[in-house]
């Protein structure tokens, strides 16, 4: 047998094997490279961007929530809800309410509930950073040569984590300044998406939103309640009517038996309130002492 005759086929087979091993070495080395230069910077920019979008969403939500709250407070005659009070033609009879008359506390309660109802809808449009796939990486993963990247379930995805944080935020402070209501929202900590080799949460971005909204003067409610207590309870209707008309511009007063119904237009809402002039008002002693 001519041994020289096997050189060429052997050379061909060797070439095939050597090139195959080279392909495997290069591809597996490339597939294991998980550090993307600039990846962390991209993740940080995306987090800032998400923060901006959250701020816009919170701003809009707070404006709508405040508008709705002023309107609801006015409809409820200064109370948080009508459920604790008797009503006549949708007017709350303030003598019948079980809760104390505290328009500011009632407003805060309504505002938090309204604000939460807008935040509950929040949807993030965050797109996770997705570096290009390395050649043959899926084949190596398939054969178990490099570990598979496990995608988190939808509820644990990065955008779901952001959504949960926004939905959980609350109004923590409110103060009035120059006819504006400044609302402080609880801080929202956004973890920066983990780009290899940095894990999720190794960096974070905190936003502490403060939102300006148009405000109604809630002191009017106290003045109105005080006036009813002092000038209308156990007093003649004409006396009460003339006092209220004189004191509050644009007020309409309608008598319905022993019940008197008031409508007082404010800047963004219209207060609707009713009272029984034969029954004392809660906290009457407070006003009488003043």
């Amino acid at each position: 047998m001519n041994k020289k005759a096997f050189f060429m086929p052997l050379f061909v087979v060797s070439t095939f094997l050597v090139l195959g091993i080279l392909l495997y070495s290069i591809s597996s080395a490339n597939a294991q490279k998980d550090d993307v230069v600039g990846g962390n910077a991209v993740a940080l920019i995306k987090t800032y961007d998400e923060g901006e979008k959250i701020m816009i969403y919170l701003d809009k939500s707070a404006v709508f929530a405040a508008e709705n709250s002023f309107r609801l407070l006015a409809d409820n005659g200064g109370f948080a809800s009508k459920s604790d009070c008797e009503t006549i033609n949708d007017f709350v009879i303030v003598n019948s309410c079980k809760a104390d008359f505290n328009p500011q506390a009632s407003f805060n309660k309504i505002l938090n509930s309204e604000f939460s109802s807008y935040l509950f809808l929040y949807k993030s449009s965050y797109q996770s950073f997705n570096p290009d796939k390395v050649f043959l990486s899926s084949a190596f993963t398939f054969f178990g040569l490099i570990p598979e990247e496990v995608e988190p379930a939808a509820e644990y995805s990065y955008s779901s984590l952001i959504e949960k944080k926004v939905k959980d935020s609350k109004i923590v402070s409110s103060q009035y300044e120059n006819n504006k209501l400044i609302l402080g929202v609880s801080e929202i900590k956004l973890d920066v998406e983990g780009i290899n080799p940095q894990p999720l949460g190794s960096s974070y971005y905190i936003i502490k939103p403060r939102i300006n909204v148009n405000s109604e003067n809630l002191e009017v409610y106290n003045e109105l309640y005080n006036s009813i207590a002092v000038n209308c309870i156990n007093k003649e209707f004409s006396e009460c009517n003339s006092y209220l008309q004189q004191q509050f511009k644009g007020m309409s007063v309608v008598r319905d038996g022993v019940i008197t119904k008031l409508t007082l237009p404010l800047r963004y809402s219209s207060v609707k309130m009713a009272f029984n002039s034969n029954q004392p008002l809660k906290q009457l002693d407070v006003f009488q002492a003043q």
Binding site: M8, N30, V36, V37, I45, E67
Partner: protein, 166 residues
């Protein structure tokens, strides 16, 4: 005699082996250079990955009328037909001012949708064009529902270099 030596005395194995070698070399050349197996992976984040929603946010904050109401203010207050037209007109003007790749068929598109129904659709594209710089935001409506705003560049034949300056 020389030819015989070169063939190592086995002419019936030499030519098929040569053919096989050629096939192997062509195959590996294709894998290494054609498919890019020999190329080092792109370990640097692309310029397009850095894109944020700055353009969309700026556009939504632009005033549309004398009262100072912005595009987003109008859209979120469940606007009527005339207000939508006013916003659309304003947005069209603003989109024309956004930078686009030079000497390319490129258009900025703006779409507002709620409940899968498009309220505003400013779309312009050429066949086979790709989408770039996709920007998206969800905003609340006064009636406690959500609407989605999308902004993206539609461009035919745009390369990384074309987009890098935008």
């Amino acid at each position: 005699m020389l030819a015989k030596k070169a063939m190592f005395g086995m002419p019936f194995l030499f030519w098929p082996s040569m053919l096989l070698l050629l096939i192997i070399l062509i195959f590996y050349s294709f894998v290494f250079f054609g498919l890019g197996a020999a190329k080092s992976p792109d370990v640097v984040a692309k310029a397009s990955d850095y894109s944020d929603s700055g353009k969309l946010i700026a556009l939504l904050s632009f005033p549309v009328d004398d009262s100072g109401r912005t595009v987003s203010d109008v859209l979120s207050s469940n606007p009527k037909e005339d207000k939508i037209k006013l916003v659309e007109k304003q947005v069209r003007l603003l989109l024309l001012q956004f930078e686009k790749p030079k000497d390319k068929n490129a258009f900025w598109n703006f779409v507002v949708s709620a409940d899968s129904k498009e309220i505003i659709s400013i779309r312009e594209s050429s066949i086979g064009a790709d989408r770039f710089f996709e920007q998206e935001i969800y905003l609340p409506s006064k009636d406690k529902s959500l609407f989605k705003v999308n902004l993206f560049l539609n461009c035919f034949g745009c390369s990384e270099e074309d987009l890098s300056g935008i």
